[in-house]
Symmetry: C3
Subunit: 313 residues, 3 copies
């Protein structure tokens, strides 16, 4: 594996999950793989879980870690080629990414979408410029359209809790207070479908995901109906892809509640966190035994560790 | 020792001081205790001394360190239970603290008081939520009402410089330019009294500390009189507990000067730093041989190291 | 070598370059030199290249690294002696630097000039206060008037690419969009001349460097003429020293272009980065085989590593 930017970079998902589960059992078993090597964690946006879990994963492998908050520690970067740089951007990604590649053996990047320029966001301009110019493996810590470390952690979690080889998996939209990227939803759909699972996606009108990410998924517009026979319900807000970055008004109640869960077959509930309690999901659901959110969070370490180990070996 | 949030978490103060003094002699003697373990330093407020000394202590024990400035690196946290999270707070402490506990073997937290809501500050809402939800040992790097790593360093310093088994210790209020927490003063009083020393506290009217922290201390309102036969004078500003967070006008001169020290028996002078030179203490005092401020700062490393070592073993 | 603040701190430049080139061949050959030791990287200003390359160098030597963004992580420092600290500065450099020296074995500092108070900037008030009070070796990561780690990396690069023992070296001013320090230019001139090379400096009227840094350099006001027989052309913007910090209007074209390079003998082109593409240098030049900018960036690691190794041994 050269880079880790989406599921298509992975040769064998099952084998990556196995590597992660082995790392979870014996976190320090390969702590010489990264000796003398450095990972650069480049944050263009805020991060807590990803920051900590990726750092822990790297340290479990014996790597040194350098974290950089680009705008706070440095300056604004230019991502367009061929421009006269006489504005507010102090350095071109060509030079910044190349520099990161000179100083780090692996470069991990978090770069959120603008939510205003759909074409640019969905071209993954920023992540692709890092890949193009870094000259070393690049790992996405969430980009404009995907969050593959989260999706891998989600699949590890499903693998650990499924009671049948083909569990019924549902991804449902949920309310939020501000426009969020589609990245987690896109990526979850892509990984679930690439793993050969069936996926149902429930969302209100106006919130269809880009069709590219969920070929073959069943789309419904009723949350209760969607989760009725589900084994796993993945809850996530996202803003509109069609009316890009907007949050069209929604009718009906889309917060996942205990009543709704009880009315279904008591499926496991998943969320990538951070979660707006009482908005996306009821407190009573998140704190119930059916909630896998902390297992997902734990698996973030081993998802990152499996990816880094695969890249380094 | 499970957590380290105040003196009452410590089984044996003398033994903790001995551990610190041993660490000071041989800082790397236990550098395998923390191998493969990670401490998360969580800053909700600025920190230089605490940030560096705790990191150094952890590294002396072989631990990996992850530092997080919560608001700059991440987002605002919600500390109240059961609220509908439709405002500016992106993640509940329940989830954030649990996540920190999943990724770190020890979680150290700095969380200052609001200085506006006394009841909430003195309930230690924030620190207690970390303790409640982290699931791993929590170390206070200064909370709303206490600064125990500082107090332990102070006691180590007194232990090293005392010429009598029962030195006379004075804590005196000093001027400042803005309202400061009572944490350092509360905590110093609590640790000194718990160690069996006698304590005199000098402060102007309106600046009485919460009685909970200084049972049995002698309270006076004249600085010169207080320090007259003192062996150690601890200088510190704090805002009013009674008129919570306010800074009532003060008459008389409360800056510690060379004249005043000479008029007393030339006691040692202590301060936790940062210090406002020429406001809290005269330059000539801080730079004199009687000043122990750099010894206190040095002992911050070994206070943290003793605490972490005790927690890890 | 006690400190590393300018070329005059170096006993033997050639030997330092040799140490750097050896480190480049075998980066981990001395990874026990720094075991149990800590370097504090203190940033009073933004930094990407210096932050990462110095951290990588320290980690190659086995050192622990603590990075501090002074204003974001802590608070404003007072650098003037004897003042009553009743304003916005929370801690005196006397106390802050001493503290850093207690917690770190080496203190590295980045402190840019004000560009408004020439006398204070050129007295190196801030860097010198760190040197005075830290009590441990201090390394400049760019100060008000010099950037010696960059200059050392530049000389390592010249050493690797020169085809003659006495290459013709040119430093040329180039346009920018805002006032920049003179530090890189001052420092490059100082190191080149101290190494026994001849140096030509080309700049428009009003942009003469402080004469102290370039004794014996040839000064010209025509870029094309300057680079005509050059082996190395170092491109850099700086603001006026005479009209301190100002950017007097410039006539003629000072951006380095492919046409101009072709008209000269196709010299190597150097720049410390970040570079304003299309303003200081044309894209086609930076991306050409004659550009050494990435080699310079790479050598930043080994410059820092040679300096730290020399200090530690």
């Amino acid at each position: 594996m050269k880079n880790f930017t989406c599921v298509h970079d992975v040769t064998n998902i099952d084998s990556l999950i196995e590597t992660a589960l082995a790392a979870k059992k014996h976190p320090l078993a390969h702590n010489h793989v990264g000796k003398g090597k450095t990972i650069g964690l480049v944050f263009m946006n805020p991060s807590l879980r990803t920051r900590l879990s990726t750092q822990r994963a790297a340290q479990n492998l014996g790597m040194n870690v350098i974290s950089v908050n680009v705008s706070a520690d440095g300056w604004a970067l230019e991502f367009q080629d061929g421009v006269v740089m006489n504005g507010g951007k102090s350095e071109h990604i060509k030079d910044a990414a190349a520099m990161l590649g000179l100083y780090c053996d692996v470069v991990a990047v978090r770069c959120f979408p603008s939510l205003s320029n759909r074409e640019q966001d969905y071209s993954e301009l920023i992540l692709n410029q890092f890949v193009r110019y870094a000259g070393v493996p690049v790992v996405s810590m969430e980009s404009a359209t995907r969050h593959p470390l989260q999706s891998l952690a989600d699949l590890i979690t499903i693998e650990s809790f499924k009671n049948t080889s083909k569990p019924k998996i549902v991804l449902t939209w949920a309310p939020h207070v501000k426009p969020l990227p589609q990245a987690v939803a896109n990526s979850f759909a892509e990984w679930v479908l690439s793993s050969g699972y069936q996926l149902t996606i429930a969302h209100p009108p106006g919130y269809a995901l880009c069709s590219h990410f969920a070929p073959g998924a069943t789309i419904v517009s009723n949350q209760q109906e969607a989760i009725d026979t589900a084994d796993f319900v993945y809850v996530k807000n996202w803003s509109s892809y069609e009316h890009y970055g907007e949050i069209p008004a929604v009718s009906g109640d889309w917060m996942l509640t205990t009543d709704r869960l009880n009315a279904a077959g008591n499926p496991y509930v998943m969320h990538c966190l951070p979660v707006r309690r009482g908005v996306e999901i009821a407190d009573s659901v998140i704190d119930s035994p059916q909630s896998l959110v902390l297992q997902q969070a734990t698996n973030r370490i081993y998802a990152a560790q499996a990816v880094l180990q695969t890249i380094l070996i």
